[in-house]
Symmetry: C2
Subunit: 234 residues, 2 copies
C-alpha cells in the first residue's frame, strides 16, 4: 500500500472544494453501503441454521449500523446533507444486492466475507490519499469485527461435510466479484470527484496509472487469498 502523503504542513484540505466533494462522495458511498449491508445481513439472519448463528449474524449487522451512524455524523460535521450524499450510490449498491441475493445461509456468509473483504481492501487503499481524520474514520468503519473468522469456520465445516458444496460456492464467489466490479466501475465512471481522489489533483498527490494498476492487482490477490481461506478456488 502506498504510504499516506505527509499532510502535517498542509493547509486545511477541506478548503479545496473538489477535495471536500470527493470526501462527501466517499463517505456517502460508504454510508449507503453500510446501511444496506446492515439490512441485508439482518435479513439473511433469518436463514441461519441455529439460534446462536442467528444472534451472531444479528450482532454483525448491528455493528454495520453503528458504522453507518459514524459516517452519518461525520457527513453532518462537514455540513453535508446525509441523504443527498448517499443518493448517487443507491442505484449501484441496490443493483449489486439485487443481483447477488443469497439463496442459502452459506451463500450469505460467503457474500458477507468476500464482499466486505473486497470493499475493505478498496477503501483502505483509498484511505492512503485522505486527510488523517477522514482516513481514521474510514479505517475504523472498515475494521473486521470478527465476521471473517466466523464465516471461514462455517464454510469450511460445510465443505468438510459435503465437498460438492465447494464447487457451487466457488461459482457464487466469482459471480459476486463480477457484480461488485461492474457496479464499482459504473460508480467511478459517473463520479468525477471520487475518481480524482485516486488519480490526484487539488491539494494532494494521487496515484499514477501504474500505481492504480498495481492496486487492482493487490485487490485481486487478496480476493484469491480469501477464497483460499474459505477452501474455495477463486
Amino acid at each position: 500500500m502506498t504510504p499516506a502523503p505527509d499532510l502535517s504542513d498542509a493547509p486545511d484540505p477541506f478548503a479545496d472544494a473538489d477535495y471536500r466533494a470527493a470526501v462527501v462522495d466517499l463517505l456517502g458511498a460508504l454510508g449507503y453501503g453500510e446501511l444496506t449491508a446492515f439490512s441485508r445481513l439482518a435479513a439473511d439472519a433469518e436463514l441461519a441454521p441455529s439460534l446462536p448463528d442467528k444472534a451472531a449474524l444479528g450482532r454483525q449487522a448491528v455493528s454495520e449500523f453503528h458504522h453507518y451512524e459514524l459516517l452519518e455524523s461525520r457527513l453532518r460535521e462537514l455540513g453535508a446533507d446525509v441523504s443527498e450524499a448517499m443518493q448517487p450510490f443507491v442505484e449501484a449498491i441496490d443493483a449489486f444486492h439485487d443481483r447477488a441475493r443469497p439463496s442459502s445461509w452459506l451463500e450469505g456468509l460467503v457474500k458477507a466475507y468476500v464482499g466486505d473483504g473486497i470493499a475493505g481492501d478498496f477503501y483502505r487503499e483509498v484511505a492512503a490519499y485522505l486527510d488523517p481524520a477522514t482516513r481514521e474514520l474510514v479505517l475504523e468503519v472498515m475494521q473486521d469485527m470478527g465476521q471473517a473468522e466466523f464465516a471461514v469456520r462455517a464454510v469450511r465445516e460445510a465443505i468438510d461435510r459435503d465437498p460438492s458444496v465447494g464447487g457451487r460456492l466457488a461459482l457464487w464467489g466469482r459471480r459476486l466479484v463480477g457484480e461488485a466490479l461492474s457496479q464499482a466501475q459504473r460508480v467511478v465512471a459517473e463520479r468525477d470527484a471520487l475518481a480524482n481522489l485516486l488519480i490526484g489533483g487539488g491539494f494532494h498527490a494521487g496515484a499514477d496509472l501504474a500505481e492504480i494498476g498495481r492496486m487492482f492487482a493487490r485487490l485481486t490477490e487478496e480476493h484469491t487469498r480469501r477464497m483460499g481461506r474459505l477452501g474455495l478456488s477463486a
Copy 2:
C-alpha cells in the same frame, strides 16, 4: 393493572423451581421475539420510501437487538442456556411472521406499531406477577423507543393523501391481531410454566379467572385505541 404483590419479605423467588422455569420461559419468549423483530424490521427497511426512513427503521431494529442482548445476559445470569430457552417459541413466532409478512412499507409500519403495542401491553400485564428485578427488565425491553410516533405520523399522512389506503390497512390490522392471538394461545397451551405465572402458584398470588378476563378486555381496548390513533377502525 393489578398492583404487584409485595415481595419485600418474600424468600428468593428463584428458589422455587416452577417460578424459575416460568421466568426462563418468559425471557426466552421475549428474547426470540426481539431477535426476530430485529431481523424482520431491518429487512422491512428495504421497503422504505426514502433514505431517512430507511435509517429510522434501522435505528429501531438496532434497539430491538440491544433488548435481545439484555434478555440474553439475564438468561445467562439465571444459568439458563439461551438457545434452549428460546427454542420452544421459535415455531409460533416464526409462524406469526410468515403469515403476517408485510407487502408494503405502510403494512410494515402498522405491523410494528400494532404488534409491538399488543406484545408490550401483554408483557406489562405479566410483569405485575414478577419479582422486582425481572419486572424491571421486562418493562425496560418493552419501552417504546419512539417507534409509535413515527408509525402514527407516516400512516396518517398516507391516509390523508389517499383515503382508500385506510380500508386496506384496517383489514391488515385485523389480520395481524388474529394471527398474533392464535399463536399466543398455542404457546400458552403448550407451556404450563408460563400459564402458571398468570394464574398463580408457587411463591406468588396469581390472577383469578375474572382478572384474566379483565386483562383480555384491557388488551382489546388498547388495541382499538391504537388503531384509532392510526386513523383506522379496529
